[in-house]
């Protein structure tokens, strides 16, 4: 009888243990849509490379919860309309264990309803204030724009400007008729009011503009002390060129130009960037503060060269990696994929990532803005190698990373 009981107990234990053992052998599937074609594919592909480097690093360490990590992803074509069906397929057909977002506001926002409906923890990559409307408590976003991105984005520009002697009194605000510039300009207006700057020019332009010199001349006619620009890559190039061609005389120029963070625009504009003040998320001058990034960037740059995407990788890739690190650390601490527990943990914990310590605010954005404001100088020629080494950028903000003061006026930097 004892023998029969012992055999029955062993069989029972084996049956109970079997699913756990089988699960441990199954990969942990993470699903997402990513822009691999369409206007934002350059960034989408760069983000994918970074995420794949993370996956390989994690799998080398034995995976997460003892399971190898596997990605299932689809091209969202930079088209918001494709996003809901991609996530429905990932969850219902592919049966992924976790989902993360693709790159950018336009593809994050359409995924939100499905995340909320299924109560999923949703790590997202470079969405601008997406949660302001949804107010979803399991949403997290890795771009370091702070709890109020509109304010956090241009904080450094205006703080650096007000640190000049004498202080500026007037400001011109200009940007493209598009979502990001509208948000950045809204924040810039708030800052101008906060620091008591008189707004002498506040206009937007169509993103398809070919020649920006009439806009810069109109700005020059108002004689602003500083000029804040919020633009996407083609218009960033156009505005910087026009400012040089027109000989814009102002003390500070730039702030919210998207594009100079990438090698393509850095090398295209070359010396024209000298004097421009603009945001960055990482610069080689800060390598000592972010020691883990060096190894990552080496791996990234090798792959990026082969795949024809941004060869520097300072802007988005480190944050794509960090997004996955947050998820990895949260799962490790929680010990399961329970979505509620994961979200609760991410809310309360601080994460140690390649981009530094990350803590999230109640709305899922970074608890504190860390949009660096920098000024380019000493750029000669159009070679890309000069941008891989320190020496071409002065960090103006935040103060913990500051390496110097603003060199004003803007046009004197061109000489």
């Amino acid at each position: 009888m004892k023998l029969i009981r012992a055999i029955a107990a062993m069989l029972g234990a084996m049956l109970l243990a079997a699913p756990a053992a089988v699960l441990a052998q199954q990969p942990l599937k993470i699903g997402f849509g990513m822009s691999l074609t369409g206007p934002l594919a350059g960034n989408g592909k760069a983000a994918l490379i970074a995420m794949e480097i993370w996956r390989d690093d994690v799998n080398k360490k034995g995976g997460i919860l003892g399971r190898k990590v596997e990605f299932i992803y689809y091209d969202d074509q930079t088209n918001p309309a494709t996003v809901p069906s991609i996530y429905a397929k990932l969850l219902d057909v592919d049966k992924v264990d976790l989902v993360v977002s693709g790159y950018g506001t336009n593809v994050i926002a359409p995924a939100m309803p499905i995340m909320m409906q299924r109560k999923l923890t949703f790590m997202s990559l470079f969405g601008l204030n997406v949660n302001s409307k949804f107010k979803y408590d399991r949403y997290f976003q890795i771009m370091p724009a702070g709890p109020d991105p509109a304010i956090g984005w241009s904080q450094g520009f205006f703080d650096a400007a007000m640190g000049m002697n004498p202080k500026p009194r007037t400001v011109a605000l200009v940007g493209a008729d598009a979502e990001y510039p509208a948000m950045a300009l809204e924040g810039a207006r708030a800052h101008a009011k906060r620091v008591g700057l008189k707004v002498v020019y506040d206009k937007t332009y169509p993103p398809k503009t070919v020649d920006y010199s009439p806009i810069v001349r109109a700005i020059q006619a108002t004689n602003p002390d500083i000029v804040f620009v919020a633009s996407y890559p083609p218009d960033s190039a156009g505005m910087v060129r026009a400012a040089t061609e027109v000989g814009l005389k102002t003390r500070m120029f730039g702030g919210g130009l998207v594009g100079p963070q990438f090698a393509a625009l850095k090398t295209q504009l070359g010396p024209l960037l000298n004097g421009v003040v603009n945001y960055e998320f990482f610069v080689p001058e800060l390598s000592k503060q972010f020691p883990f990034l060096e190894g990552f960037l080496k791996k990234y740059q090798e792959r990026a060269a082969k795949e024809g995407v941004d060869p520097l990788g300072f802007y988005l890739p480190p944050y794509a990696y960090a997004m996955m690190q947050v998820l990895e650390q949260a799962i490790g601490k929680v010990g399961s994929l329970d979505q509620e527990k994961l979200a609760a943990y991410i809310h309360k914990a601080e994460f140690d990532t390649f981009v530094g310590k990350v803590r999230f605010a109640q709305n899922g954005e970074w608890a504190r803005s860390r949009v660096m404001m920098t000024q380019y100088s000493g750029i000669s020629g159009n070679g890309v190698e000069q941008f891989k080494k320190p020496g071409k950028v002065t960090v103006l903000y935040p103060k913990e990373y500051r390496t110097g003061d603003v060199k004003a006026p803007y046009h004197e930097n061109k000489k």
Partner: protein
């Protein structure tokens, strides 16, 4: 903002320089759509193709992109001939050119775009030229060579095409195709052959305009779509099939954009440009130089 003579003069020059570029991107459509009745919606795709070819040669051999485009324009001409031949055999000959032909050119546009994405990726590309960063100053007026050089070559191209069309047998045949194909056939000229060559000429101009584009601004494969509305607007405003009309329409839109950007706010520029188009068409439905 204070109004000044310097601002006004610069707005005029900027508008004319911009108009010169618009004329280059639109003159091909004026030939294919205005004269041949071929709705080549893929025209901007060939402009971008021209940009990328100029980019490759400029990057590897350091040759000026506009010189490259002029040297390689025979290749674009041959490409245009081949494309028209396919279009003619598959659609025009069967009388299916209206909707299916339009879909064909849409397809060509997307295939071009995707091919460029697959080959070059989606990063913005640009070229290096000796003059791109130079601005000449005459008194208070600026002349950025980045716009002046494309303007001058564009003027030479547009005037050259107009002289070619009006002073050669082939050119007159092209103008005749636009008016009466049957009469042309009765005079012993094959209208299909004439259309093939004229369409090829329009594609050759797209290649050159592509070089202008990449000199003026960075390009990526899907940027061509942004020019679809513009090229047809210039063509319609100027008058279908009129090269001088295309030139005038391009200057009108260029000046409207420049003046609006300078004095009223750049976000109004498209509304003013297309408002002018509607206004002009209300009084001259055939366009400024249309018959």
């Amino acid at each position: 903002m204070e109004f000044s003579a310097a601002l006004l003069l610069n707005a005029i020059i900027a508008g004319l320089l911009l108009g010169g570029f618009y004329a280059a991107v639109s003159v091909g459509i004026s030939i294919s759509f205005g004269m041949l009745d071929v709705v080549n919606i893929a025209h901007p795709g060939f402009i971008i193709l021209g940009s990328y070819i100029a980019y490759i040669v400029n990057t590897h051999f350091g040759v000026d992109p506009i010189a490259v485009s002029l040297l390689l324009s025979p290749l674009f001409f041959l490409l245009g001939m081949a494309l028209y031949r396919v279009y003619y055999l598959c659609f025009e000959k069967r009388g299916q050119e209206s909707l299916r032909g339009l879909a064909f050119f849409f397809g060509i546009l997307f295939i071009t775009e995707v091919a460029l994405i697959l080959i070059f990726g989606v990063d913005y590309r640009t070229v290096k030229t000796a003059y791109a960063d130079t601005t000449l100053r005459l008194g208070v007026v600026d002349f950025p060579l980045r716009l002046v050089v494309p303007f001058l070559v564009s003027m030479a191209m547009v005037v050259g095409i107009q002289l070619f069309l009006t002073h050669t047998f082939f050119g007159r045949a092209v103008l005749a195709v636009a008016q009466d194909q049957l009469a042309l056939r009765l005079m012993g000229v094959n209208p299909v052959r004439i259309k093939e060559l004229a369409f090829a000429l329009s594609i050759a101009t797209a290649g050159v305009a592509g070089a202008f584009l990449i000199v003026i601004q960075p390009v990526e494969p899907s940027i061509g779509r942004e020019y679809i509305g513009l090229v047809f607007a210039v063509c319609v405003l100027g008058g279908m099939g009129s090269i001088w009309g295309t030139l005038l329409g391009a200057f009108v839109l260029g000046l409207a954009e420049s003046f609006t950007s300078t004095f009223f706010g750049p976000s109004w520029a498209p509304a003013v440009s297309f408002g002018l188009l509607l206004f002009a068409l209300a009084f001259r439905p055939a366009g400024l130089f249309g018959r």
